[in-house]
């Protein structure tokens, strides 16, 4: 074979060069060994931690919120398991593409997903951002099917709020939603993580601290696309602690009766029913309502916009925030002031000829022919305007203000719900301070005396006022919590102290109560519909004009100009144990409100007596009076 053997010269040179190569390689390998020593020995700890951060993922386990129970332990608000689809940005390779694919797969608005991510951009990248709350089965399956294309997208099982009654007592329960950025900055939300679900209205809001519970966590091993793998690590699971159960003072049956009554009447409005002895709220409603379940599922923009722009304002809690003229329901305050200030006695009589002139102006009584000579009891029974014009005129506005305030009008009730507004009972001081005119004219007192003019009240304050009349002067604080879970059992929560207490002479108060008894039980009472055999229901009707008589004539009658109807009540007359108010927005006649109240009272007493509860009333059962009192030729005049 042809080959060129190595000559000695060649060999020496080759050997030298091979030796040089050997040294070169040895040096390179030594350098490599040093490099690995630096990483694996010297800096091991740093890299070990980085590797752990890579593959260990702490997943939050959201705590279920505390269950809300009624006063008998029946579940009012509960939790259900739902699936959220969330994003862990740290694991997303291409965020734009991921969101695009996800939006496509789940048929959601890509822009909204983007906005959610943008809003949470300052969160640590490992914390899941919930993109789709309460995902449907179809959305869940579509997402899981494309998981390989969606690194960083995961499905979480989370408890979400369930309101079995849907719109029932919606304003009372409120709703939950993701914590807002401005809330996170506040001290009372310390420890709340971005993205957490908190109460945003009603009891959910007021008792959020107790209802929220403590989130747990689960540390899992994940691979580079964020998929969970491997067996659970010991000690990795820190279970979530459920929020505290709260037992409300609400009675589910009375609450349902209230809603049923409204439903049958077809009117909107508000009602508050409470125990006049201690202020426990038995039922509470504001209508129209919204469905808090829609919020629990992460309300979509369209629904939110709809709720906010609806002319009927379903988000407004009318019971706490609606301010209306009390009409004739105010007359007890005037009567009581007259008695207590010594201006009149229970036997004081006034002649009503259908109207009277004060300070050069003629003030009509609603009863065209007049009531003739009438005393306090019958003036309340028949709601005689002239009687109260006269007493009011004798008292002056400031003494009316004093007693109305002592009984809870024109002030906040102090109920444990957020955003309560305050009504107004005018006084000379108020006028001097808050109006341009400054000076109070005696003529203005005449309107005030029958609950018109500047007087305005919220339904809750009128309920407190009625309860205070019922219990003899203790302005109880309406409240909603009866007991709270202390971790083991429901522990009673002491009722809040009364707002104020005034000693009223029994005999004088009895005259007022007798009058209210006559309203329901008297021959000429204005709310005879609310009568329940043997229960001595007491009450008072009231009509709040939405527009002056002159204005109405000019505007012609339209639906949203119809009068509001009030009915405040308590029962039984002696030792009252239930009191409340029904407010029908544009309810035309206060007697219609009495029909709603009657169903509430019937339910309450049937339950108390162990009788079967009355069925939900039909529209016919309500015997609604829908005649327009101002329609030409109707001949009907609204009671006052």
């Amino acid at each position: 074979m042809p080959s060129t053997p190595l000559m000695p010269d060649d060999r020496r040179s080759l050997t030298q060069r091979l030796t040089a190569l050997q040294y070169l390689v040895a040096v390179a390998f030594a350098a490599l060994a040093i490099g690995f020593w630096i990483f694996q020995v010297a800096q091991h700890e740093k890299f070990r931690e980085m590797a752990e951060e890579n593959h260990l993922r702490k997943l939050p386990l959201p705590a279920p919120r505390g269950v809300l129970l009624d006063r008998e332990g029946r579940v009012l608000v509960d939790n259900q398991n739902s699936r959220n689809i969330a994003l862990v940005r740290e694991q997303a390779r291409n965020l734009d593409q991921t969101l695009h694919i996800l939006a496509q797969a789940t048929n959601t608005d890509e822009a909204q997903l983007r906005e959610t991510v943008e809003r949470r951009r300052r969160d640590p990248p490992y914390r899941p951002i919930v993109l789709i709350e309460n995902a449907t089965e179809a959305q869940y399956i579509a997402t899981m099917a494309r998981q390989l294309e969606l690194p960083g997208i995961l499905a979480q099982e989370v408890p979400s709020r369930k309101y079995p009654g849907s719109e029932l007592a919606a304003h009372l329960f409120g709703y939950v939603g993701e914590v807002r950025e401005d809330q996170l900055a506040r001290a009372d939300y310390e420890g709340v993580e971005p993205g957490a679900i908190i109460g945003q209205a009603g009891i959910e809001f007021a008792y959020n601290k107790f209802l929220m519970g403590t989130d747990g966590s689960n540390t899992v091993v994940v691979n580079s696309v964020g998929r969970e793998i491997g067996k659970p690590l010991p000690g990795a699971l820190v279970p979530a602690r459920e929020g505290r159960r709260i037992q409300l003072t609400i009675d589910a049956d009375v609450q349902k009766a209230t809603e049923d009554g409204f439903e049958a009447s077809g009117f909107n409005g508000a009602a508050v029913v409470l125990d006049p002895r201690n202020g426990e709220v038995l039922s509470f409603t504001s209508r129209p309502a919204y469905d808090p379940n829609a919020f629990a599922a992460g309300i979509d923009r369209a629904t939110w916009a709809e709720l906010n722009t609806d002319d009927l304002r379903p988000l407004q809690n009318r019971a706490l925030q609606g301010r209306y003229s009390p009409g004739s329901t105010f007359k007890m305050a005037v009567g009581l002031a007259g008695l207590e200030e010594g201006v009149i006695t229970p036997d004081f009589h006034v002649f009503c000829g259908g109207g009277q002139t004060f300070y050069g102006r003629f003030f009509k009584c609603w009863q065209k022919g007049g009531h003739g000579s009438i005393d306090l009891r019958h003036a309340i029974e028949q709601s005689c305007d002239v009687f109260f014009y006269t007493v009011g005129n004798m008292l002056g506005v400031d003494r009316i203000n004093k007693w109305a305030t002592l009984f809870g009008l024109g002030v906040k009730s102090g109920i444990d719900l957020p955003n309560e507004l305050q009504g107004l009972v005018p006084s000379t001081a108020w006028k001097a301070q808050f109006t341009k005119e400054k000076k109070w004219y005696a003529g203005e007192t005449i309107s005030v005396a029958i609950g018109q003019g500047q007087v305005s009240v919220t339904p809750i304050s009128l309920a407190v006022y009625t309860a205070t009349l019922a219990n003899g002067g203790t302005r109880i604080t309406p409240h909603l919590v009866k007991a709270m879970d202390d971790g083991a059992e429901l522990k009673p929560v002491p009722p809040p102290p009364p707002q104020s207490k005034v000693d009223v002479s029994r005999e004088k108060l009895q005259a007022i109560r007798d009058g209210m008894w006559l309203v329901v039980n008297g021959d000429r009472g204005t709310a005879r519909r609310a009568r329940i055999e043997g229960k001595d229901v007491c009450g008072k009707t009231g009509t709040a004009q939405v527009i002056s008589n002159q204005g109405r004539t000019a505007a012609r009658t339209t639906k949203n100009l119809r009068d509001h109807g009030w009915f405040t009540f308590f029962a039984p007359r002696d030792n009252p144990e239930i009191a409340g108010v029904v407010f029908l927005e544009h309810g035309i006649h206060s007697a219609n409100a009495a029909s709603v109240a009657k169903h509430i009272l019937e339910t309450y007493f049937a339950k108390k007596d162990g009788k079967p509860l009355p069925p939900a009333p039909t529209r016919d059962d309500m015997h609604l009076d829908l005649r327009d009192p101002f329609a030409r030729g109707s001949g009907v005049v609204g009671d006052q």
Binding site: L6, L32, W37, A51, N54
Partner: protein
């Protein structure tokens, strides 16, 4: 051709070290490609079996290249070289396309990657050319011819594109030229020229992804989710292994796929993670032994052809090992350069074992005529 006495001159130690490295590679491939079944248990992944198969074929190639006299092969190196060039051309025209490059010829049961055999063919023809030339490589004209031998397969492979494999031809050239007596001054000139031409190459020759790889290497934190990801993950993988390692199949970086191509380009990182610094030292020691022992074979070679052949082959091998191991620790730009004997890859395994067949061949025949 194969005389019985030659059997006694086989370098069993070198062969043993080579097979040991292949076995370590196999166990790492087993670890990273193990299939865990959701219902529990699992089995070796298909890649493990492919690699085992390739080791078998490689041993066959090794035995064949050991049995034939290397001088016979060198004599026919032009045929082999032309054959390889034709194969590379065929690949470009009709090859199997995968992952954005055309590198393979489908043989049905096996996808052959001809470029892996480029180093062998080039080493043979260059050893032949310089070995037959009495003057050695002192004439610039010779170097031009040698450069032509180099440039044809280089361009064909680079065009696939597979710059990583193409670049491994460079140390083969330099290794042979250096042993053939090329003056260091000349090597220095080439090096300076390369440095001067680098900016031009940057603008003209490199593709965007290649530029970004180099940029990323210089500052991996700049783009931790993109191109810098592999480099950062490689360092974490290696560093988290510690002295003793996390244990066989207990690595988190490789097992949970934080480290890409763990069974291929980054197999050494997985070794470092699971077997720790101790495992790294053992593997590096074996590689160093294989390289030094091969260079010893070159020293013992009977003729220039044998010495140059071994020198060329082992230069390419050493370059690949050093570069890949450096890259495994995140200390070099990420390049599709496998670790010979350990990385997953059938053609690479067969070609590498065949190459060691030639090295053993040269040493074994040092006394023959």
């Amino acid at each position: 051709m194969f005389e019985r006495r030659l059997y006694f001159h086989i370098d069993w130690l070198l062969l043993g070290a080579v097979l040991l490295l292949a076995a370590i590679g196999l166990s790492m491939i087993y670890s990273t490609t193990y299939v865990t079944l959701p219902e529990g248990g699992g089995h070796a992944g298909p890649r493990f079996w492919v690699q085992l198969y390739a080791v078998g074929l490689g041993m066959l190639a090794l035995v064949i290249l050991l049995a034939l006299d290397y001088r016979f092969l060198a004599e026919h190196s032009l045929v082999l070289y032309v054959g390889l060039v034709l194969l590379l051309a065929y690949v470009l025209l009709f090859g199997l396309r995968a992952g954005g490059s055309t590198r393979w010829i489908s043989l049905g049961f096996f996808n052959l990657q001809p470029s892996e055999f480029g180093r062998l063919a080039l080493a043979l023809i260059l050893a032949m050319y310089f070995g037959e030339n009495r003057r050695g490589a002192r004439n610039y004209g010779d170097l031009v011819i040698a450069a032509l031998f180099f440039i044809v397969p280089f361009l064909l492979i680079a065009k696939q594109p597979d710059l990583g494999t193409a670049v491994t031809l460079v140390p083969v050239c330099f290794g042979i030229a250096y042993l053939a007596g090329l003056r260091l001054r000349f090597i220095a000139i080439v090096a300076i020229a390369a440095v001067l031409l680098a900016p031009v190459a940057w603008k003209v020759a490199l593709k965007d992804y290649q530029k970004s790889r180099i940029n990323t290497f210089l500052d991996p934190e700049k783009d931790p989710r993109g191109a810098g990801y592999q480099q950062i993950q490689a360092r974490i993988t290696v560093g988290s292994g510690g002295i003793k390692g996390k244990g066989f199949m207990k690595g988190t970086q490789g097992q949970y796929k934080f480290l890409p191509v763990a069974d291929n380009d980054f197999i050494f990182s997985v070794l470092a993670e699971e077997q720790g610094f101790i495992g790294v030292l053992v593997a590096l020691g074996l590689y160093l032994f294989v390289i030094l022992r091969s260079l010893e074979a070159a020293r013992l070679a009977k003729d220039r052809i044998g010495a140059y052949l071994v020198g060329g082959i082992i230069s390419g091998f050493a370059f690949q090992v050093i570069y890949n191991v450096t890259m495994s620790a995140g200390l070099a730009p990420v390049k599709g350069l496998t670790l010979p004997l350990m990385s997953y890859g059938g053609s690479s395994m067969i070609a590498t074992l065949a190459a060691f067949g030639l090295i053993l061949n040269v040493r074994m025949r040092r006394f023959t005529n």
